[in-house]
Amino acid sequence: MIAYALIFAYGCFGMALLFCLYRVVFAPGLSDRVLALDTMSINVIALLTLFGIDKGTTMYFEASLLFAMVGFISTVAYAKFVLRGDIIE
């Protein structure tokens, strides 16, 4: 049963990544593009966790933790750049 749930979740998050990729390529504004990239990093965290459950290893948690941190920091750096014209003042 868990195998089918895993396949369903893989499919859902894969399609979510494709939607985000569409939005990154055909975005009306810059903030939409950055939001789509942030959502992509969130979806990749979910995919890494699913892969860890599938393979039965806890090794992918460090990778997903890194993805969470890098996604957050890059989004904040973008917003800071737009708001203040500089990242580190």
């Binding site: 049963m1 868990i2 089918y4 749930a5 895993l6 369903f8 979740a9 893989y10 499919g11 859902c12 998050f13 399609m15 979510a16 990544l17 939607f19 985000c20 569409y22 939005r23 009306p28 504004g29 810059l30 903030s31 939409d32 950055v34 939001l35 789509a36 942030d38 959502t39 969130i42 979806n43 965290i45 979910a46 966790t49 699913l50 860890g52 459950i53 039965g56 806890t58 948690f61 460090e62 997903s64 933790l65 969470a68 941190m69 957050f72 989004t75 904040v76 973008y78 917003a79 800071k80 737009v82 708001l83 500089d86 003042e89």
Partner: protein, 135 residues
């Protein structure tokens, strides 16, 4: 068996909410509504998947891992901050002050208001350029 059912339900719910969050990013009409699909729904989906992993590893392998809890807390803390930052950047880039209603009587939006005090960069620039006031 019970753990397997719980984990399966959480995985299906997580996949559904993650898909809805990213579909909202494509479907919704304008940037401010697009902003709230991923920041709420996708975070809920990823949180459900991480809780499923948190239940699955002790139930199946007998190892208790705290990484998922850490990632869930980190995501739940950072998603609102991210959404707020992008909303502020979007207001700053795309809208002028006259198009928006005031947030409260006698108050202005923080991103459009004049700074309360002179920043370090402004002071340095003023010192370099002599005593010209900032435009």
């Amino acid at each position: 068996m019970i753990a397997e059912i719980i984990v399966s339900v959480l995985l299906v719910a997580g996949g559904f909410f993650g898909l809805v969050g990213s579909y909202g990013l494509v479907k919704l009409p304008d940037p401010m509504t697009r902003l709230h699909a991923p920041t709420k729904s996708a975070t809920l989906g990823v949180g459900a998947v991480l809780v499923a992993s948190l239940i699955w590893f002790p139930a199946r392998y007998g190892v208790l891992t705290w990484h998922e809890l850490l990632i869930t807390l980190f995501l739940l803390l950072t998603a609102p901050v991210t959404g707020y930052f992008i909303a502020k950047a979007h207001m700053h880039m795309g809208w002028s002050r006259d198009e928006l209603p005031c947030p409260a009587p006698g108050k202005d939006w923080a991103t459009f208001a004049d700074p309360d005090e002179e920043s370090f960069v402004d002071r340095k620039r003023r010192d370099q350029q002599g005593s010209q006031p900032r435009i």
